[in-house]
Structures are given as C-alpha cells and as structure tokens.
C-alpha cells in the first residue's frame, strides 16, 4: 500500500509500506494491505512502518489523524513528529 505521513510542515514519509502500526485512541492498530476504509484520530505514541524492502522506521508523534483508503493510507500528524529510529538494510 502507498503510505504517506504528512505533517503541517512537510511530508515526513512517503513510499510503499508492507504494514504500519499506529497508536489509535482505543489502542494500537496495524494496517496491512486491503484494510477497510477507516478514519480515526491517533494519540501520542509511536508509528512503526515496515517497508517492502524490509526496512523499518519508527516515528514519534504527538497526535494525528489516520485515513485508510483501499490503495492509499495517509497519516496526518497534527502535532510534533520525530524520526525515532530507522533500521534495516540500506538501499
């Protein structure tokens, strides 16, 4: 799925992702390919992205909004965001 992580200042992440784990209001949730369309607010926590090239990213966000569409997933970060860590093979 196409994933983009957009903050009000810049596009933080954009690319193909195999899965993404997010801090939903009710608890952690993971979005994989073929997830049903969903809109939900996110709370403070970590976003874990698993790249298709087995590369991992972890972002720290203050809050946000998640929108899942059939082919595209967008996270709007409405507060601060940091790249917490990045691991995996280099391209």
């Amino acid at each position: 799925m196409k994933l983009s992580l957009i903050s009000h200042e810049k596009t933080v992440f954009q690319g193909e992702a195999a899965s993404v784990t997010l801090p939903g209001l009710a608890g952690e949730l993971t979005v994989l390919d073929g997830h049903i369309p969903l809109i939900t607010p996110l709370k403070k926590g970590k976003i874990e992205i698993h790249d298709k090239k087995s590369k991992d990213f972890i972002f720290d966000i203050e809050r946000g909004i998640l929108e899942v569409q059939p082919k595209e997933t967008t996270v709007l970060v409405t507060g601060e965001v940091f790249l917490y860590c990045q691991a995996g093979e280099k391209n």
Binding site: L25, I36, P37, I39
Partner: protein, 300 residues
Amino acid sequence: MKSKEIKQKIGSVQNISKITNAMGLVSAVKMGKAQTLALNSRPFALKVYQILKKLSAHQKKEGATGFYFKERPVEKILAVVVSSDRGFCGPFNKNILNYAQKQIQELEKTAPVEIAAVGKKSAAFFRKKGRKIKIEFSGIGDFGKLNEIRPLAELFVKYFEKEYQKIYIIFTDFVTTFAQEPCMVQLLPVEERILEDFLKERFPKDFEKIMSEPFLEYVFEPSSKDIYESLVPELVTFEVYHSILEANASEHSARMIAMKNASDNAKEIIKLLILDYNKARQEQITSELGEITSAKEAIS
C-alpha cells in the same frame, strides 16, 4: 532649481533607495522561507479539505447529525480577514481589504456581519469603515506558528458554537511571487458543496482526481459522532493555519516586489536628477564665464 538644491535632493533619493534596497533584500529572504512553509503545508491542507469533504458527505448520509455541519438560521456572521501587520507591501493590503469589503457587503444581505481582524491593517481599515470588530489579532509576525494560531482557531470554533451561525475566512492565496489572489472560504459550518467549489478553484490539478474517487463507506473509530465532534475543530485549526501561511507568503512576496520597484524607480530618478544637476552646473559656469569676459571687456 539651483545646483545645491538638486544635490540635496539626489542625496535624499539615494538614502531612500538604500533603505528600500535593504528592505527588499530582507523581504527576499523572508519570502523564501514563507513560500517554503506555505508550499510545504499544501499537501497537508489538501488532505484536510478532503477529509472534511468526506466527513460532510458521510454525516449527510446519516441524516445530518453533526453539529459543525448543520445549517442554522443565520443571525450573525463572522468574517475573518487576514491582512499584514506592517505596510510597505505594495497593493497587498489594498487588494485583500477591498475584496473583503466587497464580499462582506454581499454577505450583509443575509445577516449582519462582524469582523475578526487578523493583522493591524485589517483592523484599522474596518474601524475606519465603521464596522464592528469582534476581535483583533496582531503580532503573528513574519511566519505563522501553529502554537500561536491554534488558540485563535479554537476561539472561532467557540464563537460558532455560541454567537455566530456562519464563519468565513478571507485571505490572500499565494500563486506565484508576482501574483497573489484574494479568496474566501466558509470555515463553519462545513459544507460539501462549498468545499468542492473551493477545491476546484484552489487545487485545479488535483480536483479531477478528488472528484473521481468513489464514495467509500468509511468506518469511524471510536464512533462517527465522536469523529465529527473531535476532528472538525482540529481540521478547522489547520484551515486557519494554512490560510495564514498563504497570506504570509503573499505578503513577503508583495513587499519584495514593491521594494524592488521602489529601488528601480529611485535609480531612475537619480539618473534624471544627475542630468539636471549637470545642466545647472554648466549653466552656472557659462554665466560665470560670461560675467568674467564682460568684466574684462569693461576694464580694458
């Protein structure tokens, strides 16, 4: 004019051109930063508008349950007008304020309009026109910061809950360094049709793609009602934030251009004045020479 006077005038024009030149350089730097901020926030803003549009469509399907989407009988309208704090930016303030005035006159046909002035220029303009200013907000500075704008947007939402049944925001949309266009959008209540018109105008490239998207049955977590109530104020905050960034970018661009024009004009004037000065000097020399020769003739 005497040569001495002309020389003084050249000096003062030179001083002015130095000032405008310096201001132009400063604005160029600020313009670069403000433009980057505005352009970088556009994908985010586009998404915000899209989500609002989707929420609006959904709540309509559910029987118009969301408070922020409901049309109420209009008793009072609030118009948020974004201008700059400082002058010296060419036609920037004049354009936006005249446009706002025209739009407000149109709105006034339905209900009395009050003003929320962002920027000193807008407050001064509407005070002169004798309009009621509900709130004045200045000191945003050169670049809008989210932390500063959030309380402002929250205030608008609160106003909508109590006093006003419609809130509009009027700001300058940054097109290019040379062109900025005033525009207006209805902040609250959120209406799908109005957002569509606005998106068509602001984002013509993405508009077709947005409209071709099929209607998706979204799942809302925790519940659709919660989403309508918690997300809309958040999204409206970003609408306000984005509008102010666009206005900032426009302001600095307008000032840069105005200062550049002023410096160019000053250069032109200096050229003409130097020509005048030389003419005056030559005339003086000629008349002095004439005096000397005639005096010599008188003596001999």
